[in-house]
Amino acid sequence: MSASSVETTLTQGLEATIAATAHSRTRKRRLRVLASQLGLLVLLLGGWQLGVGSDQLKVVLYGEPSGILAQLITWFRDGTAIGPLWQQIAVTLEEALIGFVIGTALGIVSGIALGRIRFLAEVFSPYIKVLNSIPRIVLGSVFVLALGLGIESKILLVVVLVFFGVFFNAFQGVREVDRNFIANATILGASKWQVTRHVVLPSAFTWIVASLHVSFGFALIGAIVGEFLGGLQGLGELIKNAQGTFNANGVWAAMVIMGIIALIAEYFITRLENRLLRWRPPQLSGPEL
């Protein structure tokens, strides 16, 4: 073995050691975070369980983790007072999803139309300001009165709640498009529609997608509140029912289910975000301050 090849081998060995150390350091760090997260959960749930203790009044008022778990198991196994659990989930999800899709589509189309066509923006701006300033959740009552107890009134409430968030982001996104991009595409021969399609829309999507995270939360709120205000089925109805029978565990159990739904939705929205915005440079890591 020549001296230089020995040196190369040594350097390679050293590089490998450094890489291995860095790798194990990252893994240890991740484990520590995970352990702390679990510890916090145990602390919170344990504290709750112990705090309520065996006092039956407190159990009725505040619920308890073990009772919530038992309630979930009962619901899954035996169904709820208003029908099978999966049916309640399906109804609420249907309302939230249909409303979310319609509200998002309307928000994007009108945001871009008003952002691109100045005249429309000037005509509509006072109406939009008024509509945005009233507490729209109240419209739920109007919709229930007008459309009845079925899912239509809930869907409409969800549409109204989702629409504004998406609309304002789409509108702002259109306003923030780099003027140079538009000038460049125009000189390359793009028509007004082609500028919208190839320049404005992709640019505004950064804003629109950001609003979807919040909007899905609004969609769930809309569906649940709609059911509170007057419904026959769904998770909101289930919560109302549990509240009416002094079943705090039931209220909490329905909330756990909604939390899981929201997390799954968040996962899909993030995937959509990564798919639509894959052209963006990855976040570079700077020094931690």
């Binding site: 780099d178 140079n180 991009f181 000038a183 460049n184 595409a185 125009t186 000189i187 390359l188 021969g189 793009a190 028509s191 082609q194 190839h198 320049v199 992709p202 640019s203 894959r278 052209w279 963006r280 440079p281």
Partner: protein, 285 residues
């Protein structure tokens, strides 16, 4: 009827100019309602195939003249014609390279370059084929699928160059296109530009505040007066032989002479612009 040899024997200046600005004034209304005059009474002609560089201090209206020629803006007074036709709307057959990156970050290199032909209604297969050819010509073969953020500043400028040249413009407008690049990359890009220009021979208007770059590239250097309301101060013919090597031509004796001559003209304008920008500070001290 003129034949080709006759055309070539005619001096450039007597041909119908590719670009003709006559007594052009451009005013902008500022948001607070007052007006700002960017250029005043500017007259400029650029012959077909001529490489014209415009130099002048910051704020003299160099870039404004380009937006007028391209049709992105209308003149407030005077006339702008391209190939004898007054400019209305976006000038057909014009290419524009912007100072900042204007390649679309959400499109791959290939899609960016293919945009021009697609917008002009050329079918997809031909647009892609033509784009691949231009990507190769600007030296980016193999990078077709990359997004702009994955490229260096110089490579993004190459994309922009291919994007403009694929439409085979008869007029190429360039607004300090290489100012964001480091000195070496800039010289390389300037050489490439000259090489590509020699193939399709568009009339070029190249705006810069780097006098060295202007002389190395152009057939004619136009010096503008300090703004607001800049106008043409003097025009210098650059009689350096072509083909030129941008990195080396500045050692040429004739280059140094021209540089001194033009700098003489430019210096007072730069001084004026500088004293304007520091006026408030000057009064205070």
């Amino acid at each position: 009827m003129s034949t080709a040899p006759h055309l070539f024997s005619t001096p450039l200046a007597t041909l119908r100019p590719a670009i003709d600005l006559k007594n052009v004034t451009k005013r902008f209304t500022t948001p607070d309602g007052s007006t700002y005059t960017a250029i005043r009474d500017m007259t400029l002609q650029v012959a077909p195939g001529e490489f014209c560089a415009i130099v002048g201090p910051t704020g003299c209206g160099k870039s404004t003249s380009l937006t007028l020629i391209s049709g992105l803006e209308r003149p407030s007074a005077g006339s702008v014609s391209v190939h004898g036709e007054p400019v209305k709307g976006i000038t057909p057959g014009v290419g524009f390279m912007f100072q900042t990156d204007a390649v679309l970050p959400w499109k791959s290199v290939l899609d960016n370059v293919a945009m021009g032909p697609k917008f002009r209604g050329i079918d997809k297969a031909n647009a892609i084929a033509s784009a691949k050819d231009w990507i190769r010509r600007v030296g980016l073969a193999g990078f077709e699928d990359r997004f702009p953020h994955q490229l260096s500043g110089g490579m993004r400028k190459r994309v922009a160059l291919a994007q403009s040249l694929i439409n085979e413009p008869e007029i190429l407008l360039m607004d300090e296109p290489f100012s964001a690049l480091d000195v070496q990359t800039r010289a390389i890009m300037s050489n490439e530009l000259l090489g590509l220009w020699d193939v399709t021979k568009p009339a070029v208007v190249f705006v810069t505040h780097d006098l060295e770059e202007a002389i190395a590239l152009a057939d004619k250097v136009v010096v503008m007066t300090a703004g607001p309301g800049g106008t043409v101060k003097e025009t210098f013919a650059i009689d350096l032989p072509r083909p030129r090597v941008v990195q080396e031509i500045r050692f040429d004796k004739r280059f140094v002479d021209l540089y001194q001559q033009i700098w003489e003209s430019l210096r007072s304008e730069v001084d004026t612009a500088y004293s304007q920008s520091t006026q408030t500070t000057g009064k205070a001290s």
